[in-house]
């Protein structure tokens, strides 16, 4: 167990209203925060040595009707990684940008906006399309988006005279 892991989680716990902490593995911990605390916590952690935002991503918890933003931070000197997670309301996914703390987050926010529809206020670039072109459906990474149905609707499939998929079963 990396000794820094506990000190970091303790420090976050002492300073912020932490909903839940979890030790994922010996060099990785996870902290669940309220969305309002995220900016302060990121600024605090950056000063603590977590100088790099490895990734910002999002998880769609359809049953809970929530989006979960995950900020993955890494401290290159200590070798400690921290997942910082916050949950947003799924029906009104709005959040504020963190580009003033981690400038590198700009395109990750754009990515999350494109694939989940989470809006980041203060990051005007994030409203533009990046990977997709002429997209005409709900954001594709949401759980209620059916990729197969979209593909079948849009792109003609090759029809085979013999159904090879069934031939293998039961014989």
């Amino acid at each position: 167990m990396n000794k820094h892991i506990e000190s970091v989680t303790e420090a976050v716990k002492a300073k912020f209203d932490v909903l839940n902490t979890e030790i994922v593995r010996d060099t990785q911990a996870a902290v669940d925060l309220k969305p309002g605390d995220v900016h302060a916590a990121l600024a605090f952690l950056k000063a603590q040595g977590f100088r790099q935002l490895s990734m910002l991503t999002c998880v769609d918890w359809l049953e809970d009707k929530e989006f979960q933003l995950v900020y993955l931070l890494f401290d290159w000197d200590k070798g400690v990684r921290l997942q910082m997670r916050a949950r947003l309301d799924r029906d009104n996914p709005k959040f504020t940008t963190v580009t003033n703390i981690y400038p590198g987050a700009q395109y990750y926010e754009r990515d999350v906006h494109e694939f989940f529809g989470v809006e980041f206020e203060g990051n005007p670039m994030s409203y533009k399309q990046l990977f997709l072109e002429n997209w005409d459906d709900i954001p594709p990474m949401r759980k209620d988006f059916n990729s197969r149905a979209y593909s079948d609707k849009k792109f003609p499939v090759r029809e085979y005279k013999k159904d090879f998929t069934k031939a293998g079963d039961g014989k």
Partner: protein, 187 residues
């Protein structure tokens, strides 16, 4: 007498076509456009072990100069738009070689929202090369097929595209919505 001249004319034309086909078959210039992952084996096919240049093939910088368009693997919707542009820019006769299973039926991306399933709906394909990814041997074999096809007139995709242009264009618009490229740059 008139018929004789026409006959002679036809023969001459055929002879000329034959000569043209000989040169075309032995000097195939590929467009350097890595549309997908199968392009990673092309450098291997080009370098010392397989050396494509023996067959007179080489990479070319722009669509205008090239004879063969290689669709190396899956085509995302965004790439398909640009591939259509590139294909239409090439001067005839032009050939299209599709690599891997993805242009045939979607391959492992059969259910992906961003990848098309069948290339021959949008552009005429002259040769398919199987394998994910095709080994350099398969690639060379495929090009040999293309050369044979040019010699015995079966590689006529550009004629098919010209004759069935309406049909291809209809399919393209159905899947892509709009052919015109719209991105930050074209605003």
């Amino acid at each position: 007498m008139g018929e004789g001249i026409i006959e002679k004319d036809k023969k001459l034309k055929e002879g000329w076509e034959g000569i043209s086909r000989f040169f075309r078959a032995n000097s195939l210039w590929m467009l350097m456009y890595c549309t997908g992952c199968c392009a990673i084996e092309l450098p291997q096919a080009m370098t010392s072990r397989y050396d494509m240049e023996r067959l007179g093939m080489g990479p070319m910088a722009t669509p205008r100069q090239a004879d063969v368009l290689l669709v190396t693997g899956y085509l995302s919707v965004k790439t398909l738009r640009r591939v259509i542009y590139a294909y239409e820019q090439m001067s005839t006769p032009k050939y299209l070689v599709a690599f891997g299973p993805c242009p045939i039926n979607g391959g492992i991306y059969y259910d992906a929202y961003a990848v098309i399933n069948r290339l021959d709906q949008y552009l005429p394909v002259d040769v398919y090369i199987a394998g994910c990814m095709p080994k350099p041997e398969a690639v060379m074999n495929g090009f040999q097929d293309l050369i044979d096809g040019i010699k015995n007139k079966t590689a006529d995709g550009w004629k098919r595209y010209r004759d069935n242009y309406e049909w291809y264009r209809k399919n393209q618009i159905e899947s892509l919505g709009e052919l015109r490229i719209k991105d930050e740059f074209h605003e």
